[in-house]
C-alpha cells in the first residue's frame, strides 16, 4: 500500500523551532513529528511513503535515509516547484501512488497528531465501497473550520461548508484520507484544493464517506496547540501503552522520558512532560506541561511550565520559565532569570528578565 504525506511549506507558525529544522523534523513527544505518521502507516502495511514538500528537501532527505533503514519502509519525496494546494501534490505524485494493484492509498496532513486508527479506516472503506474515505473529528467551535455535513448512520458526505455562520454540524476534516486510485483522474496538475474542488465532485457522485475519528486529534502547527497536543498524546499513551511512560516518586501524571536522559535528585516532573534524548535535568527541578528537546539542560532548582525548551538549550539555576515561553535551538537562559512568554530565536543568551510576552531576536 502507498501513502502520501502533505508536508507543504515553511512552518512559519512553529517558529522559532522551524528556523532550525523543517517542520516535519521538529520533535513531538521525543520523536520527529513525521515519524509518528510514518510508523502508523508502516503498522498497517504501507510499504512506500511519498512526502510532498516544497522546502529544504536536502535536509529532509538526509533524515529520511535514516528512517528508511530503521523502519524498513521506502520513503521518497515529491517536490513542488510552486505551492500546489491540498490536492495538486497528489497529481504530482501520481506515478508513485499508482502501482497497478488497484489498492487505495492514504493521504495524511503532516501537522496532525492523532491515534491513527488506520486499520479501522481500511475496513470502513471496504465496507462502504465508495471512492474516497475521510476522517472527521468532532470540535466545540466548528465555525473556525471547514465543516463536513454527512449522514449520521452511513457516513455518506453531503457537502463541505467553509466556516459556517449558522450551525450545520460539528464534524470537521481531520486531514486523513483513504482514496481509490480513480480519485487521481479527478485531480488536475495545478494548484488545487481538495476540499473545494475534488471532494465536492466525489460527494456529488455519492462516493465520499466520512468516519468519525475515535480518540484525540490536534493540529500541532503552532506552539499553543503543540503543548495541548502533547497532553492528549500522553493521555492516549497511558491508555494504550502505559509501559512507555515513566513512573517514580518524582513523577506526577503522564511523563515521557527518553532512556538516555538523566534526571537528578529531588525533582518533581509532570504532568504532561516530554524529556528528549541526551537531556540533563539537574536536582531540585520542577517541570510541568512542557517539552524539553534533545540535548537540553535544566540546571538546579529551576522551574519550567507550559513551555518548549529547544534543542541544546540551557535553563539556568533557579530560573523560572512559564506561560508559553518558546526557546529556539541553542538558547541559554541565565541563572535566576524569569521569562513570561518569551519567544527566543536560536543562538541567543537571555541575561535579563522577560516580564511579558515578547519576541527576542
Amino acid at each position: 500500500m502507498k501513502a502520501l504525506i502533505l508536508v507543504g511549506g515553511f512552518g512559519t507558525r512553529l517558529r522559532p523551532l522551524t528556523l532550525s529544522f523543517p517542520k516535519p523534523l521538529v520533535d513531538f513527544a521525543n520523536k520527529p513529528m513525521i515519524l509518528h505518521q510514518i510508523e502508523a502507516l508502516k503498522a498497517v502495511g504501507v510499504d512506500e511513503v511519498v512526502l510532498a514538500i516544497n522546502y529544504q528537501p536536502e535536509v529532509m532527505l538526509n533524515f529520511l535515509k535514516d528512517f528508511e533503514a530503521k523502519l524498513e519502509i521506502k520513503i521518497t519525496c515529491s517536490q513542488e516547484t510552486e505551492p500546489m494546494g491540498t490536492a495538486g501534490p497528489l497529481a504530482l505524485a501520481r506515478d508513485k501512488l499508482i502501482d497497478g494493484s488497484g489498492e487505495p492509498f492514504f493521504v495524511l496532513n503532516s501537522d496532525v497528531i492523532s491515534e491513527y486508527p488506520l486499520r479501522e479506516m481500511i475496513e470502513f472503506h471496504k465496507a462502504h465501497g465508495g471512492e474516497a474515505s475521510i476522517m472527521v473529528t468532532k470540535v466545540d467551535e466548528p465555525s473556525k473550520y471547514g465543516v463536513v455535513v454527512m449522514e449520521e448512520t452511513t457516513g455518506k458526505v453531503e457537502k463541505f461548508v467553509e466556516k459556517p455562520k449558522l450551525y450545520v454540524g460539528n464534524k470537521i476534516n481531520a486531514g486523513i484520507y483513504l482514496l481509490n486510485p480513480s480519485v487521481l483522474d479527478k485531480i488536475e496538475l495545478r494548484p488545487t484544493s481538495i476540499e473545494k474542488e475534488t471532494f465536492p465532485k466525489i460527494a456529488a457522485a455519492q462516493g465520499l464517506y466520512a468516519m468519525v475519528l475515535p480518540g484525540f486529534w490536534m493540529d500541532i502547527g503552532q506552539p499553543k496547540d503543540y503543548i495541548t497536543g502533547l497532553r492528549l498524546y500522553l493521555d492516549s499513551l497511558r491508555k494504550k501503552s502505559p509501559a512507555k511512560l515513566t513512573t517514580g516518586a518524582h513523577i506526577v501524571g503522564n511523563v515521557l522520558v527518553d532512556e538516555t536522559a538523566k534526571i537528578g535528585e529531588g525533582c518533581l516532573i509532570g504532568p504532561d512532560v516530554a524529556i528528549g534524548p541526551g537531556c540533563v535535568v539537574e536536582s531540585g527541578v520542577r517541570l510541568s506541561r512542557c517539552t524539553v528537546m534533545r540535548g537540553a539542560r535544566i540546571k538546579k532548582h529551576a522551574c519550567v511550565s507550559s513551555s518548549i525548551i529547544g534543542w541544546h538549550s540551557t535553563v539556568g539555576q533557579w530560573a523560572r520559565i512559564e506561560n508559553m515561553t518558546i526557546l529556539g535551538e541553542d538558547v541559554h537562559v541565565g541563572d535566576e532569570i524569569y521569562t513570561n512568554g518569551g519567544v527566543v530565536l536560536p543562538h541567543k543568551e537571555i541575561k535579563s528578565n522577560i516580564l511579558k510576552p515578547e519576541i527576542v531576536m
Binding site: G9, F10, T12, R15, P16, L19, D330, H347, I359, M361
Partner: protein, 415 residues
C-alpha cells in the same frame, strides 16, 4: 636600503560569524551580515575598496567564523573585480580580536609587509587609510588608531580614549566606561607594524608561568592542544589599554562620518552615508532622472542597471535598488533599501524600510516606519519572500521570511 615605495602592506578585515551579531536579524538569517548590501554593494565591499587605495597593497585577508563556502564566491569575484588578492580565513575557535590576528600571523607575514591594517567589517566611514599610513610612519610607533569625536552622551558605548593634542600619542584607553572619560572614541580601524605580534605574544605569555617562545606553525595552531586562556587576547583591553602612554600607540582623527552597522536599521543610515559619499567621489554611480524617459530621482539614489523602474515612479532621497527589482507605475520610495528581485506594484509607498529579496509589495500598499535607525522597530524590515497584499499598511514592524500579510500591522514582530 628599502624605500617606503617598496614596502608592502597587508590588510586584515574582521568579519565576525553567524552566532555573533544576532542583532542584525532578521536580515542575517539567510545571508552573512558582511555580505548584506549597503548603498548597492555588500557591506564588506566598502572597507575592501578603501584598502585598494593603500599604496603597495599586497593582500587582503577576511577573518571570521563563517563557513568557507559562504565567502568562496564573493572572495573570488571581488579579487577579479578589484585585481587584488582577497582571501577568507576561518577561525577555528574564538581567539579574541587580537588573538585572531596573531593566530594567522604566518600568513599575514608571508609577503613580509612593513605595515598591517586591521579593520572591522561593520564600521561605516570614509576609511582614510593612505593618510593614516602616512601619519603612522611619521609617529614611528607600533600602531595608530583611527579616532573620532562623538557626543559625550553616546561615547560610553565605545572605547573612549585620550590623545596628546600635540604628538597625537595615545595616552589613555578604556572600553565602554561607566563614567565619562573622553568624547574621542576608537573607530575600529588600525594600522600596525609587525611589532604588534610581539606585543600580543607578550600579553599571552604573561598569563602563563612558562614563557615558551615558539613560532607555532598554522597547522599546529589548529590542533586543539592545550585550551588555555593565553589563546584569547582582546585588542582593546589587553593591548590598547596597557600600551597607552608608553609612546607606542598613536591616533589619527577623522573629521568625516563614522557609524557602526550593528542593527538592521543602521544599514539604512549607513547606506545614506555611503550614497552621499558617492555623490562626491563617483557621482556616475548614482541615478538621475526627471520623469520623462526614466523615473524622477531626488537626492542620492542607487539603482542597479538590471532593475526596472517605471518612469512615473518617484525615487529618493536615500534609496538603494538592487538587481532585477521591479518598481511599478506611480510608486514612491523614500529612505529605503530594496533588495534583489523585489516587485513593487502600482502606487505603493515604501519609506524608512528594508524590503528583503524576492518580496512583493501590493498595489496601494504602504510600508513605513519613523526612521529611528537605532531603535528596534524604528525601520520596518521585511525578510526574504514576504508578500504584502494590496492596500495593506505595514508600520514599524519586522516580518520574518516567507510570510504573507493580508491585514495591516503596526509595532509588531511577525515570526
Amino acid at each position: 636600503m628599502v624605500s617606503s615605495m617598496d614596502e608592502k602592506v597587508v590588510a586584515v578585515i574582521m568579519v565576525g560569524g553567524p552566532t555573533k551579531g544576532t542583532r542584525f536579524r532578521p536580515l542575517s538569517l539567510n545571508i552573512p551580515k558582511p555580505l548584506f548590501p549597503i548603498a548597492g554593494q555588500p557591506m564588506v565591499h566598502h572597507p575592501i575598496s578603501a584598502c585598494k587605495r593603500i599604496p603597495n597593497l599586497a593582500q587582503i585577508y577576511l577573518v571570521g567564523f563563517y563557513e568557507e563556502r559562504e565567502f568562496a564566491l564573493y572572495v573570488s569575484a571581488i579579487s577579479n573585480e578589484l585585481k587584488v588578492p582577497v582571501r577568507y580565513l576561518r577561525e577555528d575557535k574564538p581567539h579574541g580580536s587580537a588573538g585572531g590576528l596573531y593566530h594567522f600571523r604566518n600568513l599575514i607575514m608571508e609577503d613580509d609587509p612593513s605595515h598591517i591594517f586591521l579593520l572591522n567589517c561593520d564600521v561605516c566611514c570614509s576609511f582614510p587609510l593612505p593618510e593614516m599610513l602616512e601619519a603612522h610612519r611619521k609617529y614611528g610607533g607600533i600602531g595608530t588608531l583611527l579616532v573620532i569625536k562623538v557626543s559625550p552622551e553616546s561615547a560610553s558605548q565605545f572605547g573612549e580614549l585620550v590623545a596628546d593634542p600635540v604628538t597625537n600619542e595615545l595616552l589613555h584607553y578604556t572600553e565602554k566606561p561607566e563614567t565619562f572619560v573622553s568624547d574621542r572614541i576608537n573607530c575600529g580601524v588600525y594600522v600596525f607594524t609587525p611589532d604588534i605580534f610581539t606585543a600580543i605574544r607578550d600579553v599571552s605569555s604573561q598569563t602563563k608561568d612558562t614563557a615558551t617562545l615558539r613560532r607555532v606553525s598554522s597547522v599546529e595552531a589548529l590542533q586543539p592542544a592545550t585550551r588555555n586562556s593565553t589563546d584569547f587576547v582582546r585588542l582593546d583591553q589587553d593591548i590598547l589599554s596597557p600600551l597607552a602612554g608608553k609612546k607606542q600607540l598613536y591616533t589619527y582623527e577623522t573629521m568625516d562620518f563614522w557609524e557602526q552597522i550593528k542593527s538592521p536599521g543602521m544599514s539604512l543610515r549607513c547606506s545614506e552615508l555611503y550614497l552621499s559619499q558617492f555623490r562626491l567621489t563617483s557621482p556616475q554611480v548614482l541615478a538621475s532622472g526627471d520623469g520623462t524617459k526614466s523615473a524622477i530621482v531626488t537626492g542620492d539614489v542607487f539603482i542597479h542597471p538590471s532593475a526596472k523602474v517605471h518612469p512615473t515612479a518617484k525615487i529618493g532621497p536615500n534609496v538603494s535598488i538592487s538587481a532585477n527589482a521591479r518598481v511599478g507605475p506611480g510608486v514612491r520610495l523614500i529612505s529605503c533599501i530594496i533588495l534583489d528581485d523585489v516587485e513593487i506594484m502600482e502606487n505603493a509607498v515604501v519609506t524608512n524600510a528594508i524590503v528583503g529579496w524576492k518580496s512583493s509589495i501590493g498595489r496601494w500598499s504602504r510600508v513605513q516606519a519613523e526612521g529611528v535607525y537605532n531603535s528596534k522597530l524604528g525601520v520596518t524590515i521585511l525578510g526574504d519572500s514576504v508578500a504584502v497584499e494590496d492596500e495593506v499598511v505595514v508600520t514599524s514592524s519586522i516580518v520574518l521570511p516567507n510570510k504573507t500579510l493580508n491585514v495591516s500591522v503596526q509595532d509588531e514582530i511577525i515570526l
